[in-house]
């Protein structure tokens, strides 16, 4: 056992994570004044609020989330979008950035197209609606989409977006991260491959600290290697 500040053991469902006086946050439940973990994850306490940061799990849409989806079906006035969650997400024509004539949806988005959209609303039975009215919403042309575990998305983005902007700066790639664990990358082939490797590394070692430095080293090392033989 090292410094107690750095010790953050995993908790298992049913494990006690706090007593009276603490509030149950996400991933926990209370019973008889005691708090217990509801999910496999890491215990986190902040201002008397105890939560469990999950290690695994599906993406459950929340209002306002930026997501990357794939069009799976067309309706006369809507598209059905797969957003990597248990719930199908329709995008209504009036929520698209275009003026769509009734029955003319296929002119704008076809099955298989990938879009960046936002979750407009989620009701109590988890009916999801998407919108493309936000500024960065668009159809994603070219590039590639990779999928990571949705629970690792906060780590890929980093504090205030620090991690993702580091990757963008070093690889000169365009990157969009969806809360649903889909990441869209565009750049030249080599840079995209390096960025994808960096993201995989973050996913694998999401709980590690000093991760930013490890990622910086990986990318710089990889770029030096690929550019190696050519004198600059």
């Amino acid at each position: 056992m090292q410094g107690s500040g750095s010790l953050r053991p995993i908790v298992i469902p049913g494990e006690a994570v706090g007593g009276p006086g603490l509030k149950p946050g996400p991933g926990t439940y209370s019973e008889g004044g005691q708090l217990f973990a509801a999910q496999l994850g890491i215990r986190n306490e902040h201002d008397g609020l105890v939560s469990v940061i999950p290690l695994k799990g599906r993406y459950i849409p929340q209002r306002g989330d930026a997501v990357i989806g794939e069009v799976t079906d067309l309706g006369a006035s809507h598209w059905l979008v797969d957003i990597n969650s248990p719930y199908p997400a329709p995008l209504h024509a009036t929520e698209s950035p275009w003026r769509v004539e009734f029955g003319d949806t296929s002119r704008y988005l076809k099955v298989g197209d990938v879009i960046m959209a936002h979750v407009l609303s989620v009701d109590e039975i988890k009916r999801v609606q998407l919108t493309m009215q936000e500024r960065e919403a668009r159809r994603l042309n070219g590039g590639m989409v990779m999928e990571i575990s949705p629970t690792k998305v906060p780590r890929v983005i980093g504090k205030e977006g620090s991690m993702i902007s580091l990757i963008k700066d070093l690889t000169h790639c365009q990157i969009y991260v969806g809360q649903n664990g889909r990441i869209w990358l565009d750049g030249n082939d080599q840079d995209t491959a390096i960025a994808a490797r960096a993201i995989r590394l973050i996913e694998e070692r999401a709980q590690a600290f000093g991760l930013t430095e490890v990622v910086r080293e990986l990318i710089e090392g990889a770029r030096r290697e690929t550019r190696g033989p050519r004198p600059s």
């Binding site: 995993i10 469902p13 999950p54 248990p86 275009w98 988890k126 042309n141 983005i157 504090k159 709980q207």
Partner: protein
């Protein structure tokens, strides 16, 4: 018929020292090994060896429930399929669901229904698959115990792990965790599953006859055994994620539950349809 009568009389399941055929005492479990996260394509999985039993459990979901009419607008479904491989028993088992495996699937899914937070995932289903690769009595307990590790491995929110163990009567003595011979030639078998934290019973079945006192004794033994199994389940999960744990211990301060900033640097509008919009 005469042959069987003959065997039953000859079969001594417990010797003079009170030891069973495999040398166990009445309250002793067979050796147990659990491994979490063994399948790559499943959301969660576990492999368990329990005496001669070898069981694989996989969990998917919560995912969209199909067929659609099964969806419950208020909560998730917990569906289970218990299946025995044709080669899991000495006489080849005809593949496919039969009366017995349909029943076991049903009771296991009901046991898990009691612990999963179903209300968090309306209209979805959590699918549990239990494959028995080798059977040696007590497969429903092994399957349930493994599936519960798989469920936790999948990150499904639940009140607690479920742990299961059978006990029964052989040669008139109440024993825990019967093996194949004891199950075949014994007097009764009584599998049960509990939620260890609260002691809630989520599965209880009985084959054969026990008196009230024997039944009490059997329950007591099963409960004591499930507490030992519970530790093994937890250990399997901890071991599976220990690499992360080591990283945490090595590399210091608490992870910020990273505040999301989702405004990525805006891209120039390069959309086919331009920004003319509405």
């Amino acid at each position: 018929m005469e042959d069987i009568e003959h065997i039953e009389k000859e079969m001594k399941l417990i010797n003079a020292d009170g030891r069973r055929l495999d040398g166990r005492k009445a309250d002793e479990l067979r050796p147990v090994r659990i491994e979490a996260g063994v399948l790559r394509r499943a959301d969660g999985s576990a492999y368990m060896e329990w005496g001669g039993n070898k069981v694989l459990a996989a969990v998917y979901g919560p995912r969209e429930a199909h067929p659609r009419h099964l969806q419950d607008p208020a909560r998730a479904l917990v569906q289970c399929r218990y299946n025995m491989a044709p080669f899991s028993v000495s006489d080849r088992k005809r593949p496919g669901p039969d009366r017995r495996s349909v029943e076991i699937s049903k009771v296991i899914s009901e046991a898990f229904s009691a612990v999963v937070f179903k209300e968090q995932f309306p209209r979805t289903s959590v699918d549990i698959f239990i494959e028995v690769l080798q059977a040696d009595a007590g497969t429903r307990c092994a399957g349930l115990t493994a599936a519960s590790v798989a469920l936790a491995d999948a990150g499904v929110p639940m009140r607690d792990l479920v742990t299961s163990c059978a006990s029964g009567k052989i040669d008139g003595v109440v024993c825990v965790d019967l093996n194949k011979e004891e199950d075949n030639f014994g007097d009764a078998d009584c599998p049960m599953a509990i939620v260890p934290r609260t002691g809630e019973i989520v599965l209880l079945q009985m084959d054969g006859h026990l008196t009230y006192d024997e039944f009490q004794k059997a329950m007591e033994m099963s409960i004591a055994a499930t507490h030992r199994l519970y530790e093994l389940q937890r250990d399997a999960l901890r071991r599976r994620y220990s690499t992360t744990l080591e990283d945490i211990m090595k590399e210091s301060p608490p992870a910020p539950a990273a505040p999301m900033s989702e405004s990525e640097s805006p891209l120039p509008p390069e959309d086919d349809f331009g920004p003319e919009g509405i």
